[in-house]
Symmetry: C2
Subunit: 475 residues, 2 copies
């Protein structure tokens, strides 16, 4: 007999079915036991009456406790009018058990699964993440993550974007944040770095003529934790296009997310159906921040106030706190890039690069949602001379420029004008799911102090492993 999932039973009244799942709750009423059986799709009431069960099942039933994994054969019965539970999708039926089989027993979990409140601390929840993910709310976060990924991909494939995997074993370059390093075994003393973002790869894909690229890309920065940034890895919706202007990038992004929210989060309401495009200087003057919260009712959990911020200065005097997925500075000079060192200055301000760099405006665009930056991007420089001038202005010496040699070389062979944006996937999802931290929408996150209590990583490794790599731990 094929398995029937919980929610399918409502259309199978009178049929004998085979069910699989976990015991969510057990209630005894005299000789009758009620089991709420949970699978990924829902919860189903199973009635266990000794007279209906075989000998073995009666015996088995005695042991059954919450979180046991069962296989149950039984008959789907319609509930009486009074017994219908309108709060449960399967509330119109129940299963009269005929045969019960225990597939796995379960010890008492370290925290309740049935109780949805976050009764356990984060460390304990992460140590037993396989139990924490059984909570309805966490399961839904994982499912919405999956649906959001698929929505974004289908949308961009529909727009003829090509999805490209860029390397995770990449190169350390001075782009601002601290790199995670990976020692090379073949070249002892040399290191790969995990990419802070696929910035250079996506630009080289434009040089390659890919024209429309995207990737839900893993990014790695060895930075200390913040509420909206998990230590270790996070994902960004990395998009890059050739032969576009800024409006093309903004309009496409706005269209994608508007459609996504309508489809996946229909209860959410947008404050502005057409997202305002605000001048950076005006926003700074009016709100004192470039991440204004434009909600009309800050108490409405379902209000979404998106806005674009444009006309940023190309440089800033001092590196601000990095907020955007694409923001990394790497400046050692008087000027730091406001967005990143690849951002294109506005044509009319090119002359100011020499005379008054602080006055140069750029084609940077930030996407702000309810006072949080959820994405940044820009049109990029596509002229090697301007790129070199920006390197000079941010204080790159010959050695640092040498690290970008491949990039400047690529710019010799026919570069299309290009630009893009990289909305933070986890951050946007956490806001849409009303979660306080992005760790709640990541299956197996590191803690705020960058360790994994489940696998107990990072961990010590064998001396031979380090010998192979030609490194040793400093005394």
């Amino acid at each position: 007999m094929n398995r029937t999932i919980s929610t399918e039973t409502i259309n199978k009244v009178g049929e004998t079915v085979k069910l699989n799942g976990w015991v969510h709750v057990r209630r005894n009423m005299g000789k009758i036991a009620f089991l709420d059986l949970r699978d990924r799709w829902g919860i189903l009431q199973v009635v266990c009456v000794p007279a209906e069960l075989d000998e073995q099942s009666i015996e088995v039933l005695k042991d059954i406790r919450p979180e046991f994994v069962l296989e149950i054969e039984g008959v789907v019965q319609a509930r009486g009018e009074k017994q219908i539970n309108k709060d449960m999708p399967t509330g119109t039926v129940e299963i009269l058990a005929k045969k019960i089989n225990i597939l796995s027993k379960a010890a008492t979990p370290p925290f309740e699964i049935e109780n949805e409140d976050r009764q356990a601390g984060e460390e304990l929840r992460l140590k037993h993440r396989y139990l924490d993910l059984r909570h309805e709310r966490m399961k839904n976060n994982m499912i919405m993550r999956s649906r959001m990924m698929q929505f974004v991909r289908n949308f961009l494939h529909g727009q003829d974007f090509v999805e490209v995997h860029t390397p995770i074993l990449s190169k350390s370059t001075p782009e601002g944040a601290r790199d995670y390093l990976v020692p090379s075994r073949k070249f002892p003393g040399s290191f790969f770095a995990l990419p802070q973002a696929p910035q250079q790869y996506k630009q080289m894909l434009m040089v390659a003529g890919m024209e429309k690229y995207f990737q839900i890309a893993p990014c790695f920065r060895d930075e200390d934790a913040r509420a909206d940034r998990s230590p270790g890895e996070f994902y960004q919706i990395d998009m890059e296009m050739s032969f576009v202007n800024q409006d093309d990038v903004l309009s496409l992004t706005e269209k994608m997310f508007t459609k996504m929210i309508k489809e996946l989060w229909p209860d959410k309401k947008m404050t502005h159906s057409k997202w305002p495009r605000l001048d950076w200087q005006e926003v700074m003057d009016k709100y004192g921040t470039d991440k204004p919260d434009l909600r009309k009712d800050k108490n409405d959990a379902n209000e979404l106030a998106f806005a674009w911020i444009v006309n940023f200065p190309l440089f800033e005097k001092q590196a601000e706190d990095r907020e955007s997925e694409e923001h990394f500075h790497g400046s050692t000079g008087a000027w730091a890039p406001s967005h990143n060192m690849f951002t294109r200055p506005k044509e009319e301000d090119l002359e100011l690069l020499d005379s008054d760099p602080g006055k140069v405006k750029s084609y940077q665009h930030d996407l702000v949602l309810n006072g949080v930056e959820v994405g940044g991007g820009a049109l990029r420089i596509y002229d090697a001379k301007i790129q070199e001038k920006v390197f000079d202005l941010i204080g790159f010496d010959a050695k640092k420029k040498e690290q970008f040699k491949h990039f400047l070389t690529a710019f010799k062979y026919g570069v299309p004008p290009h630009g893009g944006i990289a909305p933070g996937f986890d951050r946007l999802l956490s806001i849409l799911q009303s979660e306080p931290t992005i760790r709640e929408v990541i299956a197996f996150p590191l803690t705020a102090d960058a360790k994994d209590p489940l696998m107990e990583s990072p961990s010590e490794v064998a001396k031979e492993q380090l010998d192979d790599l030609g490194i040793q731990i400093k005394k």
Copy 2:
């Protein structure tokens, strides 16, 4: 004016259009110049007649050479009957240029773009990968990679699978291949490891009740190169399901790839529309290998002979060469797992675990295509006692078992029977694209000796970076 892409022009005869792209070929015939303009979608003939051009464009035209990036305004003209080029999708039209603008100049590339033959060595091609990817064949490999990803995802989403990102900063465990290590800054002397495969995470997602999980997952093994394995990173289609039998896993996989090939590679023909399921012992006796090439005509580049191999022994005396994406041994005892240490023995052979382990058969399944293993998987052990017994048989001491403590702990809390498969994404794609190595279907691969000639990684890093991590290079 909006940009028109090359292939759209065939429906725009008589219209004035704006085009963007690269100069593929320039031919001069007296005062008239013919430019083949290339964009991602195709190649289009542009006719440049001085009398039709403005002054500036006439001047500009003189400089134009292959790989320049242009913006052209012109009128779409139908070609005369004799001039129609049936080999070109745009061969019914040509563009009469009115205005030509150079967006970027290009130096002469180190190898030809127009000539599709692999005239350059791999190192040179990788050093200028942004030019190599301009080749029609490489571009198509990238596009087919993108389409295959999307097909697989849509198919599995359609089957209600949840796509989950598992950690890339993971833990070093003795699973056979050499780990890439990532030193921790917060815990000096401790290391993350890049996952050889998400094996433990996917099993823990089954414990979590996810029931149907998949991921096109990056995997990392610090192994020396082979034709069908790129050093560094590769991707597998990682699928895991609960409450399934082996037939469920095999049938789903077969259905997915059959549909995929029909849709994306319609010229390919399958030798067997229903893939044979072959007994391992019989295959070994008959072919002397467990990867038989079952093609009827080995000279037919379009023939695909898929087969399943089942009934593997659970253990082998000595570790064979690792072929499967899921195969990793990590044995230190007399017995090594034939697949991996999580593979479920057949119920009827459980007693033999004590008396004659070499005779125990397992629920491993390998997918073979044209003599190449393209995927391996298994039903997994879901009983902690059997798992511990397998650890013992492969010679795990208390210290090694300690590294799997979290896994055995998870098994206390209600584990569903589960199993899956992990076809190698790059390897399968390379066969379907008739490419000799998987590096041809990866955008930015490492060379066979594990370096990236483009970014010049791995590379030296600053001493301060190593100080931060508490490591140093061995003298």
